[in-house]
Symmetry: C2
């Protein structure tokens, strides 16, 4: 998929992946793969950004002798998903504008 088209989607996708359960970076990438793909460098950048915006909480915990960072969503993060649903209405309007057929032919 076009990289520019992904830009407004990725943040909210990651939030959606975290929404239901505390999870960690590597798992997020695998969970989202059927829907949208992103590189590791992208994901960890996004997670940092979401933390700075206080949309996720981070907890470090040992797993198999290694530290793993677990992410959970915050109220602000949930609000962000709701806002996306509002944006979606605008996007649908745009989509109809772009994909409309000419009145005359067909």
């Amino acid at each position: 998929m076009d990289i520019q088209l992904k830009r407004g989607l990725l943040d909210v996708c990651v939030l959606a992946a975290i929404k239901d359960e505390e999870t960690y970076g590597y798992k997020i990438i695998k969970d989202m793969k059927p829907y949208i793909e992103m590189s590791e460098s992208t994901l960890y950048t996004i997670l940092k950004r979401l933390e700075a915006a206080q949309m996720v909480n981070i907890r470090s915990a040992e797993h198999n002798g290694r530290l793993r960072k677990y992410y959970s969503i915050t109220e602000t993060g949930l609000k962000r998903i709701d806002e996306f649903r509002d944006d979606w209405k605008e996007i649908m309007t745009i989509y109809r504008f772009v994909s409309r057929e000419d009145q005359d032919n067909e």
Copy 2:
């Protein structure tokens, strides 16, 4: 609307605005205003980009003593709109992923 969300949409919106009739920059902005807003600097950058990609043709003509640049869409430009429709299917999948409700509550 979130600036990042617009990024993949703007190019194809401009193409859609040009699709039906030869038009010019200032008019495009006004035509699209109900659907999506963009600054003039953004629009003219996009038009240049679309020209470089041979998705639009440019014709300069005098209007009221001033030069005005008229844009029309090319085959490549029409193809770009079609490709966007394919991308749209992926976007819908992503939307469903983001906006799904939890299975348990509600």
